[in-house]
Amino acid sequence: MATELGPTPVKKPASGGTELHHAPKGVGEDNVIASQGRWASWLLAPTIIALAVVIVYPIISAIVMSFQADAGLDPATGLFTEGGPAGFSNYVNWLAQQCTSPDGGTVACPPGTLGSQFWSATATTFFFTVVTVALETVLGFWMAMIMARTFKGRSLVRAAVLVPWAIPTAVTAKLWLFIFAFEGIANKLFNTTILWTGSEWPAKWAVIIADVWKTTPFMALLILAGLQMIPAEVYEAAKVDGASAWQRFRMITLPLVKPALMVAILFRTLDALRMFDLPYILTGGANNTTTLSILVISQIRQGFNVAAALSTITFIIIFLVAFIFVRFLGANVVEQQTGASKGKK
């Protein structure tokens, strides 16, 4: 490793660290960038190649598959189908909920088949995403505000919030399944007799509560990190100027923490859109808790290619949401990463 990282003549100009960003553009800078670029491409190559193999290849392969028909017995018709090119029929199967009919045409997918569940799974996924992210943002913000204060035992609280985060989601799901069991502690504490996983709304809320428990700490820590970037003098100055607590929150805290907050919301939203473990283990997708990810998994064993179409649709949905966040809501993850924003501060 020593030889790799050692300052060959090529690398040496970088020793100034971030100063390069600020330095006035000199005569040699283009050369420096070019030589650093060569060096960088060698260092980046293993990562880029590895990601190309484990991510880019599967994406392309999934897109190719999604335009092929599945060979084998058609579950809807009971007839043997040959496979081969299928055009957009796999996408039609999901988006228009049209399944192949015995006479070779298409009919609306009968209720109960996976094809008929696409829009309800999409609605469930977005419902979970909006509700969990909203709750996690509000709760996480509140937790972060508390943890940002100075009080005895603050480090204990900061340690405690890491506990739900450290528990694997599969274990979390089983734990909440037990808590929400009919004879479990939840019904006992609230003196209710709800069959939590037995009907639609309790099942949905069980998933939401478990998810909020598990992931609010992550949100809180990201927001806390943002809060800690705000210098205390700003608050002091505002206090001297007579700003109320609410005014200080609205005019100082919120705008200054916004970049970190938007990134946290973006991360959580994209994570929630692919939610799988919790509903899969907690409810098995029953009672309208089937998310898009669960639907893909259910489809895989009934036909790869139809599943590939759905996973491509899921990927596009998540990509679009990320795009909207970055483009219109100003969640500029990359800029924060490159440190480009540092120069502006």
Partner: protein, 296 residues
């Protein structure tokens, strides 16, 4: 004149007292909020541990303090007579986690160094690609991999579980290490050279000790995310290679229609405790690593 002065002083005293009271009240509210956060975060985890130590006959005992304490559930968790392979699953999870972490660190450390220290064209693009990769939905990988691994006979093998894990652990390692590296005092390397160190010495004696905690923290985060993986493993593993998350999710008891909660909670405790200890010991570093990508 004097009456005015005393009046003023009394007023100031009153004002101070009001301020003090308000301060005390605010402090009190902070403690109550902190307590609420503590209970909300710890109570469910506590319930898991209490249940793990509770006799199976009293599974649904709802007394808050431990009752009917026993270690039987831990024996049941490792018992293989109902078709559970928890011991093997633990070994599998450790093995998969270590391989994924080591591979991701070995590959990722160079990329992180380039992204943190070098100036080059397309840096935005590369970072965007790596961040995008870390947000990539697992289901979009599973379908083609399921078909590919079926075709080449890799279903249920370790490599079938390790390769997809690298797809989300590697981007995580790269961007966590990038932000750690950016914070490092690289001038020291230069100073060591000026003081007469050779390049190798400067790297070994100055840079390595500084980078070690960053790399170690990244390794913990990488291991945890591999340890927690469920979706891909639930589809591509076999009884012999399944990791703990899959083993716990499909944990079977003596009666098919009765979920063996106490044994599952015991298994969950075993899986969680080492992680929680690790996280609490390295709390500061872990938080820095977790939030590294979002702020700074």
């Amino acid at each position: 004149m004097t009456t005015a002065a005393t009046e003023l002083r009394a007023q100031q005293d009153r004002g101070r007292k009001v301020a003090q009271n308000r301060e005390k009240w605010a402090q009190g509210r902070t403690y109550i909020s902190a307590l609420v956060i503590l209970v909300w975060c710890l109570a469910p985890a506590y319930w898991m541990v209490v249940t793990a130590f509770r006799d199976v006959g009293f599974t649904y005992d709802t007394s808050i303090l431990p009752t009917h304490v026993t270690l039987d559930n831990f024996n049941t968790a490792f018992d293989e007579s109902f078709g559970n392979h928890f011991r093997q699953a633990l070994i599998n999870s450790v093995f998969i986690g270590v391989v994924v972490t080591v591979v991701s660190l070995l590959i990722g450390v160079f990329a992180a160094y380039a992204l943190a220290r070098l100036n080059f064209r397309f840096k935005f693009l590369v970072l965007g690609f790596i961040l995008g990769a870390s947000m990539f939905p697992g289901v979009a990988l599973i379908t083609p991999l399921f078909q590919l691994f079926t075709n080449i006979g890799w279903m249920g093998t370790y490599q079938a579980l390790i390769i997809p894990n690298i797809s989300f652990v590697l981007p995580l390692t790269v961007y966590t290490m990038t932000s750690f590296f950016r914070e490092m005092p690289w001038e020291l390397e230069e100073s060591a050279r000026v003081d007469g160190c050779t390049q190798g010495q400067a790297f070994r004696k100055v840079i390595m000790p500084l980078a070690a905690p960053a790399i170690f923290t990244t390794a913990i985060l990488a291991f945890i995310s591999s340890w927690n993986e469920f979706l891909i493993a639930s589809q591509l593993s076999s009884d012999a290679t399944q990791p703990v998350t899959v083993a716990i999710a499909s944990f079977a008891g003596a009666q098919p229609n009765q979920i063996p909660y106490t044994a599952i909670m015991a298994a969950g405790t075993i899986v969680t405790i080492p992680l929680v200890i690790l996280v609490l010991v390295f709390q500061r570093k872990i938080v820095a690593g977790l939030t590294a990508g979002a702020v700074k």
